[in-house]
Symmetry: C2
Subunit: 251 residues, 2 copies
């Protein structure tokens, strides 16, 4: 049986050897949702960046090289001055992002993506691409002799986040459907799966109850929540490639 | 509203200022269960210790001073050579522990207890003393102006553990009963509470499903699970005092 675990916060990744693992990084509110939406809308690639300064520096270099790059992301939920777009999935429409490269500065999702980079596959998972991600994992499990699947909750400033836990449970649920009784579920996967199954009919309520969801509402970004809660609305598989760029995987 | 959070693994304690907090450390399998049983059986105090060497050294010093001390605990689930007792709650009967001091070497519970020590109150919580711990917190919440309650899951080697998550949810449940709508629940407290409420009628099944429970069964220690699952069977409040000794609090 293949181990299938949920890592509640990125710090725990230190406990795992990742070389033959597939990692799904989950930051539903909102980085991994926005990444899926942007790729589905035709963006060429997304580079997650840790700091505003680094995002400005790298995008400046790329622009001097003649690249058409968008500077996107948030600090405290809102886009910093000089950025082209924030971190709202509603902004990543084809009219803005088609054929563009995107630098994405986010808080929690970027940390999780960077810590996962030694894995065989690093995917960006969200509710909007839940089934596509599960199907990709399913199709690569045997052909690439993966020895473990990890769903990594980006969390919130190092702490547990309800919406990522719920979504991790959703990936476990989809994988179990595809591959019944093939997985050895860790304790956190058992708990996340149950939480997902209890609330699967109302993902929006989970996002609204979460602390992060309430913060976004307070910032006037409440309209992002239904966009982030819509199952399989952007069926794309964002895959981290060389040099950290996330591109659309062939399914 | 007073924040009530569940800390999924002891590492996260670093994110909190604890001076005016009450912390309940939970290591159901088996350290905090054994601590509650030992105090209920008349032990004078328990000192959690990180290493076998330190446990042997300190108990040797105490014996030279004429103290009657028991050396107890486990490495990999079993008592090291030369120890008087292991870490099974079934061993801490009055015939063995009455009026004795106990050095307890355990893996996960000790780490969590040591990391919590700057808190205003540090309690050892388990299923066997769930209501007693909740009642103690309730009675001290206002009189001591506590600004936060944290249930800290000892976890398993830094990772999530199902039985501690369940028990943390049980403490949240009992506190909500006593103090309805007075708490601001963190995301992890919401999830743990739900998990507890779904399984409250069969705590033994939770322990049996958990990874740690399965390991104990494999070591021939399966009879510990029903002992650890028995709600309120040892209604005592283990309270960390000066120099790290855990003693029975007055309720």
């Amino acid at each position: 049986m293949i181990p299938l675990d949920v890592v509640i916060v990125p710090d725990h990744l230190a406990h795992f050897v990742l070389e033959r693992s597939a990692v799904v990084v989950i930051d539903v509110l909102r980085a991994t949702t926005s990444i899926a939406v942007a790729l589905h809308s035709g963006a060429r690639g997304i580079l997650p960046i840790m700091t505003v300064e680094e995002a400005i520096r790298i995008s400046g270099n790329m622009r001097r090289d003649g690249e058409s790059v968008l500077l996107c992301g948030e600090v405290g939920g809102l886009p910093p001055e000089g950025f082209d777009l924030g971190n709202s999935p509603r902004e990543f429409v084809p009219e803005r992002v088609l054929n563009r490269r995107i630098m994405l500065k986010t808080t929690n999702g970027t940390v999780a993506l960077v810590r996962s980079q030694t894995a065989r596959y690093v995917l960006a998972g969200a509710l909007v691409n839940l089934s596509a991600v599960a199907e990709f994992l399913h199709s690569h499990l045997e052909s690439d002799s993966l020895d473990r699947i990890l769903c990594v909750c980006a969390g919130r400033e190092g702490d547990f986040s309800l919406e990522d836990f719920f979504t991790a449970g959703g990936i476990v649920d989809r994988l179990q459907d595809l591959y019944r009784s093939r997985f050895d579920l860790g304790d956190s996967a058992v708990a996340a799966l149950e939480y997902f199954q209890s609330h699967r009919d109302n993902p929006l309520a989970v996002l609204e109850q979460s602390r992060h969801g309430r913060v976004l509402k307070g910032l006037g970004l409440g309209a992002d929540l239904p966009a982030c809660a819509a199952y399989d609305s952007y069926p794309v598989v964002p895959l981290c490639g060389s040099e950290g760029w996330i591109e659309k995987a062939e399914i």
